[in-house]
Subunit: 429 residues, 2 copies
Amino acid sequence: MMNAPGVVHGDPHAMATLALVETAERVDGHAPSVTGRELDAYLAAGITSDHESTTVREAEEKLRKGAWVLLREASNARNLRDLLPLVRRFGPSRMAFCTDDREPGALLEEGHIDELCRIAVADGIPAEDVLLLASLHGALCHGLDRVGAIAPGWAADLLLLDDLVAFRPTTVLQAGRVVARDGAPCPEAAHAWPREPLPGNVHPTPEWVRQTVNLAPVGRESFALPAPLVADGSGGAAGPDSPLVRVIEAIPHQLLTTERQLRPTVQDDLIVADPARDLAKIAVLERHHATGRIGLGLVTGFGLQAGAFAGTIAHDAHNVIAVGVDDGDLLACVERLRELGGGLVVCDRGRVIAEMPLAVAGLLSDRSARDVHVEQERLDAALTARGVTLPSPFMALSFLGLSVIPALKITDHGLVDATRLEPVSLSVD
Amino acid sequence: MMNAPGVVHGDPHAMATLALVETAERVDGHAPSVTGRELDAYLAAGITSDHESTTVREAEEKLRKGAWVLLREASNARNLRDLLPLVRRFGPSRMAFCTDDREPGALLEEGHIDELCRIAVADGIPAEDVLLLASLHGALCHGLDRVGAIAPGWAADLLLLDDLVAFRPTTVLQAGRVVARDGAPCPEAAHAWPREPLPGNVHPTPEWVRQTVNLAPVGRESFALPAPLVADGSGGAAGPDSPLVRVIEAIPHQLLTTERQLRPTVQDDLIVADPARDLAKIAVLERHHATGRIGLGLVTGFGLQAGAFAGTIAHDAHNVIAVGVDDGDLLACVERLRELGGGLVVCDRGRVIAEMPLAVAGLLSDRSARDVHVEQERLDAALTARGVTLPSPFMALSFLGLSVIPALKITDHGLVDATRLEPVSLSVD
């Protein structure tokens, strides 16, 4: 249940959603920065867990109020080290590890739950508590019986480890069979996998999940941002008389953003990107029904100095989301995504610099994890070369459209105050 | 699932019972002294918990194998202090308090779960762990969501305590209303109770649950115990040639018994009770269908010197169970229970010395707890006056028929080896 403000304020749609699951014992929650009586209301509605805590204070309040606290370490949202003091103080009870969103590179180079184990042990958490956080507690949180531990009658896939520091499995058993040794799958265990991989690791993707990008016609002018209430109209740098506007500030390793209010750079009565001030345009284009709906705004925090980048992963509506300092490159990105049927792309001076097709619904690649990782590195390198300093920029981009995580987000309907879950205007009243 | 040997050995009746509940997430267990591969088999069959551990070693094995360990402190089976070192060593995880069977006197004078809290705190367990064992963990063990703690959206009756040492509630809230203060119910809160008490605390008991004692005719000779294989037939004290027989030994504060093997006292080719050797007769009489089935044996450990005592509480078949050193008093007890329609009774020289009618199915009194307590004290005093030293003798009596707790028990079918769950003869082969 991601709509915490809706639950807190009794929004009929949120209530109807909860009513659908009222016989369920568990409803996973999503309550970033929700606190006090609002948190009481949210949890009392039947929410069981939360994975959005970013501070000990926030997580401790959720724990005290009966919620399971999931300690997250995603590619982008890196909250684990900040929350481990809670484990150190109270033990691991009613807490578990979670990764949420991890990019292929993070999976291949850092790992999954094993990486969280390494971090926690290195941070001084006893290994036996770490194992609970990594295994049993996740199962308990989700009400899964007889999994998460090694006991008679319980089901387990097993990782054999040499130590409880590196957490590197030397042998992996799945359903009682050895399926991997020393980091490589066992060929003789191929029959144990649900499905044999096809040659070249390419799985056939049904046509009906391809080509899901259904965009209305779009032009360079689609990204124009008229400057309201400009007094002098002189253009150039922001002056005391240019309009005060809301700007999304992306924060490294966080899904939370902050709302900055500042005077944008204006040229010819249009608000423009200004790389020198780290001000880029951000656009969300409805891509499912070709409505032509587009939300425009400004973002800071990426550091982008040239071109644009865009993707069709944009939680949870998964419209096209694009950030750029050049309207022509914003357009180039969007047109390339239309051709690809979804993906991630970086354009500069009208040319595609790097891209990752996402054949499955514009969300998933049909290539191997390693191929995806190579594409991801090319995309990231293209952005680094263009001044981007924010870690995991495409992951960060995908969350700027998630309008249920504070503070300021953007959808195809425009800017959203994600704390109150209300649309807001670009210009500050 | 009390039939641990049946589950371990795949007994069809036990398997059919488990199949009935196979979709249930929880099956409460009962595995006294079950260990090793037999415990593996029992737990793998789907058993969730156990409350029969008497040693740390036993409880730790159950805990390690995934079972919830319920720390019991009954009137008779007092296991808590023996098991608390487990909490001290590993914390309270996957353990909870339970009382199992408590007599009214124990409830009134010692308490219920509050008494376990006092014992644990006095034994050095941190109060916060004690509260978990007393509240949340019981709910978790039984899969009850949103009870057992104070949190938004959780349901709780509340006890307000002055301290975490005496655990004496000064105020009790039930469903949000104050229903008791300083140990007495609040008259103004009478409407909060499910049902208002009738004058004199006497609740009407429907006729169909009364008079459930349906015994075949029984006489003094019903309790005769022919001595097989006696060589000399001389009567008097046990000699080297009298038969070696199995004797149930009752153990203070335990539901477990031991099997003693000794040569009984024989007179006129009959095995007789011998108070000087603390050997009493024990009888179980089928009381539901008047089949006339009766099991006879010998018991030691009570210390009874005169008369007999009997009751219609005898787990879990609840037949008539009687212990006596005089066949005429055994008969007097049984006949009085027939008249009462169930209860507890002490007879001596053919007269009723003390009794407690149990109007509801021969199991429950329809009197107030305080009245029952007074009756219970009279019963116990009558036995103490007749030499009985075993604590809670009627409670102990009620478990001598429970054929699923080792080692030697007795039913209307005769003696039972409760470890292997097989009938055994009185005489040792």
